[in-house]
């Protein structure tokens, strides 16, 4: 099991050697990354079987917690690792020339794996920063200079967020003297005061920059508007979720308190409303998708605010669904984008793209029997069971958002089905792998529609297991520290 650390180490290794390899053969450098990711996928699969319903901790450097850094491996982290590997493979820059870009992608995946696996607060921060730097780089490397400017503006807000995150970590360390999340989980009473929760708020909002959390998400439209669509798919589909994973780890293990839930609930609701409202006024595809992405991340925060395993399974379901749908939509946008008026006649031009597009947005809207419906249903029902004014308000917000979303999404759809006129240039004719992947995503969505029940059961199992601090503590901490608690 210790070899699972290779998930993170192999891409890092590849990132370091790619510049050297490229000096000899650029082809080899190009293929190093995908090969590593495929190996990782194999590793993840074998680990998935081996972990079974249990959990496993890797003590890096052989130091027992809480002094050393720990990787915590269970189905939740493995699920995310699998998503990372596949998603990076999908958006791998096959047509890029610079080998350093491959390195950046490898660093990005290494950081992502680290974020998924690590169980140490500061280590998470390091990986978060690595992820951030790699992201800035990949964004800035695009051909147009506006991407650089967008990247710079993103960098400022994101770095300021990271500083907040660091402040939060500092407060937590000062309060408890430890950074191991499992160890923190045994000392929750220290952290549930104002100081501890402030630390959580700082962490949540700091990491929220990447997670497209309201109000620190003004970068979204700028960045997604300037970078290639595949990259948007990666950022919106995956990177935002990884920042959420960081928040989830803190929330589930340490901050299971109403104040933390309320915080997430409020930012979630504001995100949903603001995102949908702005998307409603958008006139072009990318802007619309960007803000709709913000809104759906908002839904994710609302789900998290349910707390416990229920909140987690809903959150995982929403993340997977959003990854497929928003990732798919951004990949689709590679094929057609621009002002809505230019999309006239698209459906006649390419009925298949219109159909795929429809599948995505119908699921996004939560139309039965697509998976989106079940997720929305389960979310709303769970919110209702909790009761309380804010939760009812959240239900209203989610459902209102659905209506707004219907309005703007179907305004676009009806444009697509109109007759083409002179200035409509709907389709980007060149072959693109993105479209193939988008179709694949749509297919996955449809397949998962059939298996809603088993999938949700599986996710519930994963969540039950991962959201249980006792399992986490007992897997990670040596018995000595457990004794302290009782």
């Amino acid at each position: 099991m210790n070899s699972l650390v290779l998930l993170m180490v192999l891409p890092l290794f590849a990132a370091f050697i790619i510049p050297v390899v490229a000096k000899f053969s650029s082809k080899l450098a190009l293929f190093t990354g995908p090969v590593v990711l495929c190996i990782n996928l194999l590793l993840i699969m074998s680990a998935w079987v081996k972990v079974g319903s249990g959990a496993h901790a890797i003590f890096l450097g052989g130091f027992l917690p809480p002094v050393g850094i720990v990787f915590y491996i269970d189905h939740f982290s493995l699920l995310f690792s699998g998503l990372i590997a596949s998603m990076v493979l999908i958006v791998w820059p096959w047509d890029a020339k610079e080998s350093r870009l491959y390195s950046l992608y490898m660093l990005l995946s290494a950081a992502s794996f680290g974020l998924a696996l690590s169980a140490d607060l500061f280590n998470l921060y390091v990986f978060y920063e690595l992820l951030a730097v790699a992201t800035y780089g990949i964004i800035a490397k695009q051909k147009n200079s506006s991407a650089t400017a967008a990247s710079l503006r993103y960098l400022f807000i994101s770095s300021a967020g990271s500083v907040m995150l660091l402040l939060g970590i500092a407060i937590i360390y000062t309060l408890t003297g430890t950074l191991n999340i499992a160890h923190l989980a045994t000392m929750t009473e220290n952290l549930h005061g104002f100081a501890g929760l402030s630390a959580f708020a700082l962490i949540a909002i700091g990491a929220g920059v990447k997670a497209e959390m309201f109000p620190v998400n003004s970068w979204v439209a700028e960045v997604y508007g300037t970078i290639p669509r595949q990259l948007s798919a990666l950022l919106a589909g995956l990177i935002s979720k990884l920042a959420v994973v960081l928040i989830i780890k803190m929330l589930l293990m340490v901050f299971q308190v109403q104040a933390a839930f309320d915080l997430l609930l409020v930012v979630g609701m504001l995100g949903v409303i603001s995102g949908e409202m702005v998307a409603w006024r958008a006139k072009d595809m990318i802007r619309m998708l960007s803000f709709s992405s913000i809104a759906h991340l908002g839904v994710l925060f609302i789900a998290l605010s349910i707390g416990g395993s229920k909140g987690l399974w809903l959150a995982i379901a929403i993340m997977l669904h959003h990854l497929l749908v928003k990732g798919g939509l951004f990949l689709m946008a590679d094929r057609f984008s621009g002002h809505f008026d230019k999309l006239k006649g698209l459906a006649h031009h390419s009925p298949m793209s219109a159909a795929v597009f429809l599948v995505f947005i119908l699921s996004l809207l939560g139309v039965p029997p697509l998976p989106g419906f079940w997720i929305k249903m389960a979310l709303v029902m769970n919110l209702a069971e909790l009761g309380g004014g804010l939760y009812y308000l959240a239900i209203g917000v989610i459902l209102l958002a659905t209506i707004i979303e219907t309005a703007y999404m179907f305004n676009l759809v009806q444009t697509m089905y109109l007759k083409a006129d002179a200035d409509s240039t709907p389709l980007n004719k060149r072959y693109s792998a993105s479209y193939t992947f988008a179709k694949l995503f749509a297919l996955l969505l449809l397949v998962s529609m059939v298996f809603v029940s088993p999938i949700s059961k599986r996710l519930k199992d994963i969540a039950n297991h991962s959201a249980n601090p006792q399992i986490y503590i007992h897997t990670v901490l040596p018995a000595r520290y457990l004794g302290e608690k009782s």
């Binding site: 180490v9 890092l12 370091f16 850094i69 680290g114 430890t178």
Partner: protein
């Protein structure tokens, strides 16, 4: 307007941070709980064997963080290299701009640097190799190394004598060796980045197992990255 609202919210933040600080145990007890710190101070001698406990933490207990930060440096250097390569600018414009003749600095500077350069190298290497014994280590030493090389470039901008290829090979090599040292433990059935080799005599240069080797890798890597960074930023000045 921005200024006033900024002032308003910042004063709010100051107040809140003050309140939070007041709640920290450092003001109620004598100091922080220091749970991990104590455990490390007690165990570092036997587990890692470096006299400098901070080094034990940096390379031993939290070696992965160090690997991560090296990667960040690497990433930053890569990005700077990517963004500031000459290909990303209009070559014609840069050719026109080249008339600002960046000539060498004066006699004093040039000769002083020539004199100091070997010294800086030695100091840098010393700091790196004694990182596990005294304050200092790979980062600090690496910075000194980088400074040494970049000073050469600064005083003689036209004869930028640092080879890009060399820098990238060094940084790759250093990074790879850091990882390899970690992975060897993995192959021996232990955990990634587990300290290997015997601890040696406590307090001597040859102690603390693989830590000095790791620090050497770190130092080379930091030196190469920083030098590369400065070089790239500097070369842009030339292009501009």
């Amino acid at each position: 307007m921005t200024k006033y609202s900024a002032l308003l919210f910042i004063s709010g933040l100051v107040f809140l941070l003050m309140v939070i600080t007041g709640l920290l145990p450092i003001f109620s007890d004598s100091h922080t709980p220091m749970l991990v710190g104590k455990a490390i101070l007690e165990g570092a001698k036997d587990q890692v064997g470096a006299a400098n406990v901070v080094t034990s933490v940096v390379l031993g207990y939290r070696g992965l963080d160090t690997l991560g930060e090296l990667s960040i440096l690497f990433a930053a250097a890569s990005v700077v290299g990517l963004v500031l390569t000459k290909s990303s600018f209009n070559k014609a414009a840069s050719a026109n701009n080249d008339k600002h003749d960046h000539h060498d600095s004066g006699f004093v500077a040039v000769n002083a640097i020539d004199l100091i350069f070997p010294l800086l190298l030695v100091v840098g290497m010393y700091i790196i190799t004694h990182g596990h014994l005294t304050p200092g280590g790979g980062f600090q030493g690496g910075v000194v190394l980088a400074v040494a090389f970049s000073m050469l470039v600064i005083v003689r901008p036209r004869r930028a004598s640092i080879n890009h290829g060399m820098v990238s090979i060094i940084e790759s090599f250093a990074g790879v060796s850091f990882i390899l040292i970690g992975v060897i433990a993995l192959f021996k059935g232990q955990s990634f980045l587990q300290p290997l080799l015997s601890h040696g005599e406590f307090g001597s240069l040859w102690s603390a197992g693989t830590l000095p080797l790791l620090y050497l890798a770190v130092g080379l890597k930091v030196g190469a990255e920083l030098a590369g960074l400065l070089l790239a930023l500097n070369s842009d000045e030339v292009v501009d």
